[in-house]
Each structure stands twice: as C-alpha cells, then as structure tokens.
C-alpha cells in the first residue's frame, strides 16, 4: 500500500507563503501551512474555490449530489476542492472533470502517494488537468492524524464549504468547523431524518449552516452569474411526462410504486425509466429511481 508513484515524483514543486503563488485565501487562516507540495497548476488555488466534502461511504443519492455539485461548479468556472477520499470526495472531483472543470485534491499524505489506491486513475487525471496539493513531503504516508489537519486546508482554500453527506462523527464535520472558524460559508445538504447519512448535515443546519436547497444558490451567494449550463430541452412524450411528474412528487420511488400508482405495466415503466435516465431527467441506483434535475 501507498508506495510513491514514480511518474508523479518528478513533477512535484513547492510553494511557501513568501512566494506570490501561495494560495491567496489560505494566507488568511490562522495556521497556514509553511510549505505546500503540489503537482499541477498552482494558480488554480488562488481562483474562486468551493469545497464539497462528505463521508467515504455514501448513499447513491449522496454520490449523485456530489457529482452534480462537481459538474455545477465546473460549468461555472468555479474550482471544486475536495479530499480525494473514497465516496463523496471522489465524486466531486469526477463531476468537475467530466465537464472539463478545474478541481483541486488536498491530500493527507505526500503528493506522490495515492490513497486510497483505487483512486490512481482519478489522481493522475487531477494531476494532469487540475491540482494535487499537500502540506506533507513526498513519501509521507497517511495516518489517522494527517486527515483532520488537511481539512483546514480544504476549507481554507475555499470561499464556501458544502457538506454533502456526513454521519455524526464524520471528518466532514471537522472541515465544516474549520470553515466556520475561518469565517467561510458553510452549506449542508438537508436529508431525510431517518437517513443516517444525513444526520451530520442536518445537525450542521440546526447549528447555523445554510441548507443547500438548489445547487444554483451557491453561485448566487458568491456573486457569480449563472451560466446557461446544460439546459437540455429534450422533448418528452405524454407517458414520459406523466411518469416524470410522479417521480418528481415522490422524490424517491421504485418501478413497482410507479406501476401501482399509475396502474401501468412493469415492462412499460422499465422502458420509460430507461429513456428518462438517458435523457438525464432521472437516475437509478439499487432499484430506486431519483430525480436528477
């Protein structure tokens, strides 16, 4: 596990607060790293950044939300910052990369070590198209203590931090705490009260974080004009609209529930859901159907 990746070792540079390239917002926090190791384009860290974090184990909904936030930020020229952990973090990066947006991964280990190792491909893409950032020297292995420390950098780089899904003792809550100490905006995605992955986010909202109800809100709050984005005007047939309407009012349904409520045949519903998914209106995971827009 976690052996340095040779092809990345040669591309590591450093930056200190004495240099101009040091991330602007990061200078303002009370304990900025004395040195940053990076791979990629360091100027990204001084652009407008928004971080999105969440638990490593996430629900399909959480992953979708993370992916969509990544996309939304990417489409609007905002740099998406996250920690490249499994689950929510990875999907934030993936969403941004998908729309050719810029993204920063802040690591809790040396910049040439891939952790978790399954993210190798993602890490290489971020190194090529975005920025890998760490306060740890090359070859330093991740430990229990490095991750909470790196969270201050994630929030420190960003004007706002979004907590997508977090359990009660999640590291994402530490990031949110650091963000509020640093005087940055904190958003949380509200969730069902019986969803154990939503407890952390809901608690943040109770404690004063802004609930993120529409993804565009965040762009308005940081004063960015919304880009037209991907407003596809796909034409829907009558049956498709009827089923989409039902999914929208229910939030989260199964094919069976659609069949029962609308008195339709399972085969027919399956086909229509596939088409809706292809057109990007819904997405499905583990037998459940969610609204995507």
């Amino acid at each position: 596990m976690s052996r340095p990746i040779e092809e990345l070792t040669g591309r590591i540079y450093t930056v200190t607060p004495l240099e101009e390239e040091y991330p602007t917002l990061l200078r303002q926090i009370k304990d900025p790293p004395e040195i940053l190791y990076y791979i990629g384009d360091i100027s990204l860290a001084s652009r407008i950044c928004v971080s999105a974090v969440g638990s490593r184990k996430a629900t399909p909904y959480g992953k979708w939300a993370a992916f969509s936030i990544g996309e939304k930020l990417g489409q609007n020229g905002v740099v998406a910052v996250s920690g490249m952990a499994q689950g929510i973090d990875s999907f934030v990066h993936k969403g941004s990369l998908k729309v050719k947006g810029k993204t920063i991964a802040v690591l809790g280990n040396g910049p040439d070590i891939c952790f978790p190792s399954g993210n190798m491909e993602l890490m290489k893409r971020i190194a090529d198209e975005g920025l890998i950032l760490s306060e740890y020297a090359p070859g330093v292995r991740p430990t229990k203590f490095t991750f909470p420390l790196r969270n201050r950098i994630i929030s420190g780089l960003s004007v706002a931090t979004i907590v997508v899904e977090a359990g009660l003792h999640s590291g994402s809550l530490i990031t949110a705490e650091r963000a509020s100490e640093q005087g940055r905006e904190v958003y949380a995605i509200p969730g069902n009260i019986n969803n154990i992955f939503a407890i952390g986010g809901n608690k943040l909202i109770k404690d004063g974080a802004s609930p993120l109800i529409v993804l565009d809100d965040i762009l308005d709050d940081i004063g960015l004009e919304r880009k037209a984005g991907n407003q596809t005007n796909a034409v829907l047939g009558k049956d498709e609209s009827a089923i989409l309407e039902f999914i929208k009012t229910s939030g989260e349904v199964t094919c069976d529930e659609i069949c029962r409520t609308l008195s339709r045949h399972p085969g027919e519903v399956s086909g229509i859901v596939t088409v809706l998914e292809m057109k990007g209106f819904v997405y499905t995971a583990l037998g459940k159907i969610f609204v995507a827009k």
Binding site: N195, R260, S270, V275, T284
Partner: protein, 512 residues
C-alpha cells in the same frame, strides 16, 4: 460348464452391455474375477458366496472363474452382484440356458440374499434396452425410476431366491409403474409467485429470463426477497417433456439421489448449493466421475445465493459448461460427459455486510472489502448472465397488503413464458436452437434486425448509461424475448429500452 449372463456397466450417463461369464473347474475351491473389476466388484465375491448359501442353494465346491466381458473396459458398481450370483448358479446347473438367456440382471446382494437398490439403474436399463434386451430383472427399490423407460419389461425382485424362482417359471407379473406422470402438479414446487408481495418489476424480469432462457443476476439488500423470487422460478417454467424427464432422472439416478419418495424427476429441478461448495461438487468429479450440482440442475434452475462468496476458481469453471450446456469431466481412468442445460440464477448483496448504499443502515465494510466483493461479481462470469436486476426493499409491505391489488400469479407468468417459447421454437426450427439466449452472432443478425430508431437508442444507451460494449448483443437478445412476450414480429424501441434496464450492474460498477 460356462454360463453367460447379461448386465451393463456405467460410464457417466452412458451404459454398455457387459457379459458375466462364469466357469466352474475342478481345482482348489475359490473365486477369481477378471475383466478390470473395481474394488466393489472384487468384494462382491464374499457377498455372492454368503447370499447364495443364505438363499438355500449350494455354492459349488469348485474353482469359480468369473470374467466380465469386454475385459478391457473398467467396470464399477455393486449391481454386478446379482448377475454374478445368477451366473454361478447357472454354471452349477441350477437353470437351463434358455431360462435366463433373454434376461438382463441388475442388483446388489445383501448377505441374507435380499436385493438392494443401486445407483444408476435408469441409465443401465436404458442402455440394455438400446442393445435389444427386452426383459430386465432389477431391485424393487429401482423399479419405479426405471419404469419411465418404454419398450422394455421390468421384473422387480426382492431377493435372489425370488429371481431364481422367476427364471425357473414361477408365476410373476412385470412391474407396473405406480406413478402417473404428474405434469404440473404442485408437489416439489417451492411456492408460487402469488405469495410475493410487491416486486412486480422483478417478476417481469424473471418472466423474460425464463421465456428466453436468459441467466439472471439479482442484487439487493438483505431481506428484499431475492431468495423468495428465485425459489419460485420452477413454478413458471414449462412442464418437463418426456425426454427431458428421462434425462433429468438419469442424472439423479447416477448420482444416487433417487429414493422411494422421489423415484423420478417430474418437476424442474431447483438446486441451491451452499457457497462453500468445491469445484468437484459443483461441476461433477471424483475418481469415478459423479454429476455435480450443475448437472443435477439440468433442465431446471441452479441458484447461487451469496454469489460473491463462492470461490473465484469455482465460479470461473462455470463458464464453459454454461456455454456448451454440458460438461466434460476427464479423470485418469474415465472421461465422461454430463448434461448441464440450466438457467443460472445468482443473487448478491451490494457488499459483504449487505448495507452499502442503504440510507437506513450503516455499512461496516472496509474499502478493501468493498473492492474485493465487487471484483468477484464483475468477473467474466457476469458476461454469461444476460439479465441483471436490482431488487429494492419493499418498505411498505403492510400497505401493499392492505390495498389488496393481487400480484401476478405463477399461472399467468407461465402462460406468457409458454407463448414466447412457442414463438421461438417456430422461428428457430431450422437452426437447431430453441431459445433467444442461444443465438450466436450470425443468427443474431439474421433474426434480430434493428431499425434505425432502435440502433440509435442502443448506441445512445451504451454511451449515456455507461453500458459495456459487450452488453450490446445481450440487450438485443433480451429485447427479442420481450418482443416475443409482447407477440411483436420485430424488435421495437420500447423493447430495447426495457432490455437496457436489465443491465443495471454495468452501470453500478462504472459509476457508483
């Protein structure tokens, strides 16, 4: 004097006639057996000697030489006891040649002279019939299973004494089957689909799978009803034909799995091996190869619950028999072929602990466990499975029961299956196949032409839904089956769209 008695030997499911030649000579008394006889047959000299004495006959005070002809083939099984005993008694002048020459004998002797049932009686009887034997004496315990064979007269014998009596002209009636062919009778079927609350979409997918002979993979949280759904699959499969019943019963006969309670296989088999199963037990094997679970499920369902928990090596070995619908087992002494025309049904949790992605429970798996679990499922074996569905938990079961809308019944699902199968049989009458799942690439092009809309939809689906390129032909085959269920002549876009819904794992592993 030399006597020649007819019996048979078994290699896999095939049987060949064997002549038991017995010669008595004036030497020191003893028995020697030649003709590549196995340990069991070598031991039978003791059983035969005692059983003859116990039945009230005199064991000849001479040197007994027994040869099992042809002498070059290996022979195995305890059913040589009876023919050997008859041979010794015939050679010692107890009977005349014309009394036993028309008969063939199968049976294991007890020391007290009674006859025990043997494994593999059915294929032995079939083999004897095929070489022209008309009358067969066999153990009473095997008579029922063998009575399925036509054009042969069976005599069920309790004891050596009784069978000698029969040959010497005592009154005897041929065995008559007491089993009606119980087509469609509910015994042996593990419940009906009426009992499954909700899960109509899954039932739809299962109907498609059975109609087109497609393999099925179900993923869902613990308790969502995967096992319940799988167990009921035989209840919607077409009834076994006579030929199929014969083939299935043969396998069970050789495996020694028939009993008085179940003398023949009249229902589609449903086998659920535990995930700790070894390769030999699943595929068949042993020094003298015996059929494994995959052959015991012939013409029925092989259900692999907790699919990723099976050893990878075992799963990989399923590939060839799934493709060829038979399995060749080669051992040092034997090379046999067992049939394995099965519907493969696999089920899995989303992860080891079962709650990955569930918003009501915390998943306790480590990332390494998650990866390990997935790598098992995403292996090449999945390529052999056309339908992959997700089973959502039924959250509001009580509500569903309350509103009283009945679910689809096994009978109506079976009707759809039968209709679709008939269409397929008629369409492929000249191709030597009978199901959509058996289409090869050339046949797929010939019988499943797609119009431009379907092609466009398929291309878009593969791109947008993240389906693998391999999914292409599977989606078309499944779409063909859906069209058959709808009784549509050609594949239309709604069939393609529905078929793509059944590739959920492709997406699961690519995106989430």
């Amino acid at each position: 004097m030399i006597s020649k008695i007819n019996t048979a030997t078994l290699t896999g499911l095939e049987s060949d006639i064997v002549t038991v030649e017995t010669c008595l000579t004036n030497q020191l008394p003893g028995i020697s057996i030649t003709g590549l006889a196995s340990q069991t047959i070598q031991e039978s000299r003791e059983r035969v000697r005692v059983a003859i004495a116990a039945s009230g006959f005199k064991f000849p005070n001479k040197k007994v030489t027994i040869n099992l002809a042809p002498a070059w083939s290996r022979k195995e099984g305890s059913h040589f006891d009876l023919p050997m005993a008859i041979g010794i008694l015939a050679a010692s002048g107890e009977m005349k040649e014309q009394q036993y020459a028309d008969y063939a004998f199968i049976g294991e002797l007890s020391l007290d002279g009674s006859i025990n049932p043997v494994a593999g009686a059915l294929p032995l009887v079939i083999g004897l019939r095929d070489v022209g034997m008309k009358k067969i004496i066999l153990p009473k315990g095997n008579a029922e299973e063998a009575s399925i064979v036509r054009d042969v007269t069976l005599y069920a014998a309790d004891s050596l004494k009784q069978s000698i009596g029969l040959l010497q002209g005592a009154e005897s009636t041929p065995y008559k089957s007491c089993t009606e062919y119980r087509y469609g009778s509910p015994d042996g079927i593990n419940g009906l689909y009426e009992d499954v609350v909700g899960q109509e979409s899954a039932k739809r997918a299962i109907t498609i799978g059975v109609a087109g002979g497609h393999g099925l993979f179900m993923m869902g949280f613990p308790g969502s009803g995967k096992t319940m759904l799988a167990q009921r699959i035989p209840s919607i499969m077409p009834e076994l034909t006579y030929e199929e019943m014969l083939e299935a019963t043969k396998v069970y006969s050789v495996a020694g799995e028939l009993s008085n309670k179940r003398p023949m296989i009249t229902q589609r088999p449903f086998r659920t091996p535990h995930h700790t199963i070894s390769a030999a037990a699943l595929l068949g094997g042993g020094g003298i190869p015996k059929p494994g679970e995959i052959s015991l499920a012939h013409h029925g369902v092989l259900f692999l619950d907790e699919f990723p928990e099976f050893s990878r090596q075992v799963l990989e070995m399923l590939r060839q028999p799934l493709e060829e619908r038979k399995i060749n087992i080669a051992r040092a002494a034997h090379k046999v072929t067992f049939p394995s025309n099965i519907m493969l049904v696999a089920a899995s949790n989303p992860c080891k602990c079962g709650f990955y992605g569930d918003d009501r429970h915390q998943c306790t798996c480590t990332p390494a466990q998650l990866n390990h679990y997935r790598s098992k499922i995403s292996g090449p074996i999945l390529d052999r499975i056309d339908l992959q569905i997700e089973i959502p938990p039924v959250r509001y079961k009580e509500l569903l029961e309350e509103d009283g809308i009945p679910g689809k019944s096994s009978a109506s699902m079976r009707e759809a299956v039968n209709k679709a199968r008939k269409l397929q049989r008629e369409r492929y009458i000249n191709e030597g196949i009978s199901l959509n799942s058996e289409l090869n690439a050339a046949q797929l092009r010939k019988y499943c032409p797609l119009d431009t809309y379907c092609k466009a939809l398929l291309r878009e689906g593969i791109e947008k839904l993240g389906l693998s390129a391999r999914a292409f032909s599977k989606v078309v085959k499944v779409a063909r089956t859906i069209a058959d269920i709808d009784e549509a002549a050609s594949i239309r876009t709604q069939h393609i769209a529905e078929a793509m819904r059944y590739r959920s794992l492709d997406k699961y592993y690519r995106n989430f």
